[in-house]
């Protein structure tokens, strides 16, 4: 079989973004008629509607169909690819982000529903060579093997530590109960969270 050369500059996410833009033009007409039919409450869609998301402190205005999940909006439209799409059914936790201070499954929240709230992704935990204590603790405790579940665990752990700054091992275990690691690195994960808890108390700003 001949190897096909990848086209330069075309990525899967870039392609999806392009398709989204195209259908946006076609959907605009439907939107107007629906809005006119229900004057009391605005009805948007099924075509794209304006959605504004505040991700890691930065506002982004997108044109999204109401069916686009927060996870797809982050990954395919905003290039925040830290949150991972694994089960896409609220069962594994790999897509965990923090919305309004709470850990949620981004795959099971519509992007349009996440408007007006602070959305934090794993990308917010490092800048240049500066890392959040959780990230260094994950590295130092071998809290990952293949690493695919890691961003979800890190964000679940961050939300957990904000509510429970001084947890016991058992509390950490329960606090990470919404995330799965198929490599089975749970012991390292829990120790990492305990270590990060200690360091965050010592640090001025966590």
């Amino acid at each position: 079989m001949k190897k096909k050369k990848p086209e330069p500059g075309v990525t899967r996410r870039g392609f999806i973004r392009g398709v989204g833009l195209g259908s946006g033009v076609a959907g605009a007409g439907i939107l107007e008629t629906e809005a006119a039919a229900a004057p009391a409450v605005q009805v948007v869609g099924p075509g794209p509607a304006q959605v504004t998301l505040k991700v890691n402190g930065k506002q982004h205005t997108l044109n999204l169909e109401p069916r686009v999940t927060l996870l797809d909006a982050l990954r395919d439209h905003l290039n925040y690819t830290g949150a991972k799409k694994v089960c896409d059914r609220a069962s594994c936790g790999a897509c965990t982000v923090i919305v309004g201070g709470k850990a949620v499954y981004a795959c099971n929240m519509l992007a349009i529903e996440a408007q007006g709230q602070d959305i934090q992704t794993v990308e917010s935990l490092s800048s240049g060579n500066k890392y959040h204590p959780l990230i260094t603790a994950f590295v130092e405790n071998d809290a990952q093997q293949c690493g695919f579940c890691t961003p979800g665990f890190v964000m679940a752990a961050k939300a957990f530590l904000e509510q429970n700054p001084n947890p016991t091992y058992e509390e950490v275990k329960a606090g990470l109960g919404g995330n799965l690691c198929r490599c089975g690195t749970y012991i390292g994960l829990r120790n990492a969270v305990l270590q990060a808890a200690k360091q965050m108390k010592g640090a001025a700003n966590g």
Partner: protein, 328 residues
Amino acid sequence: MQAFEYARPSTVQEAVSLLGNSWEDANLLAGGTDLLSLMKDYIHTPKRLVSLKGIKELEGIRKSAGGLRIGALVTLEELLRNPDVRKEYPSLAAAARGVASPQMRNMGTVGGDLCQRPRCWYFRLGFGLLAKGPNGESLVPSGDNRYHAIFNNRGPAYFVSASSFGPPLVALGATVNLVSPSGTRELPVEKFFVAPATENARENVLAPNEILTEILVPPAAGVRNATYEVRQKMALDYPLATASVALRMRGNTVASARIVLGHVAPVPWRAQAAEKALTGKTLNAAAIEEAAKAAVQGATPLSMNGYKVQLASVAVKRALEEAAQART
């Protein structure tokens, strides 16, 4: 998932006016933990989603002399953290804690728990609520039925109610308010759940243009209540069998008892033989043992779920033991 219109009303009346007469017209979106998965699998394909998240009157937990009022939008985490719930309604707190994923508890709502669809894998794979095969017969009795019903399972429904709060709310004698264009009706939670007789019926009485707005739980001061859930894994899993109990005491004697099993029937299942066995008895180990046995009398397990009979019995025993130790 199929494309849909989206609306975010700010009152219940507006929300009701945005619904239709069929489930295909519109679905209600609260936490979304179940609905969006159903839509991704094309089990639900509504033309419109009506988000309830902008409706303030659906929020909040309020305790008064009349009992506890739980707004349909209250999340499992809010319920779990509420001091009144923890103190007076441990059976509800235990059911919330049983949903062991913090993300799920942050997103999922109490109203959504009551309205979630069954987990029956035939239903989830598109064979309908009654799991009919090509010849019109249910696939469940001759198929893989390890998680299906052991009570009220003579067809056409074989699934189990997935609700975590159904059993404790039935045990506590709670009611729900349902609002539709024709007004509000208040129903006991026990009457809210039904075993469907036809493919078009559902596992509850909610109409396509109706909204479950709030849950009203009678005062539970002096009512010893507890929930015990048996599950395979301690996280991210539905239970295999649960029991919720609510006991009115006269000294050490059980004046009246409600014992309700979960995940064993298409509805939260009143174990009336167990209630009868316990009423008038001193709440001790022998009485508990007897009630736990009585609770599974008449069970009709399918080919692969006989194990659930024992689990349900043990769940009743442990829930009663917890209730016996509770201070009220």
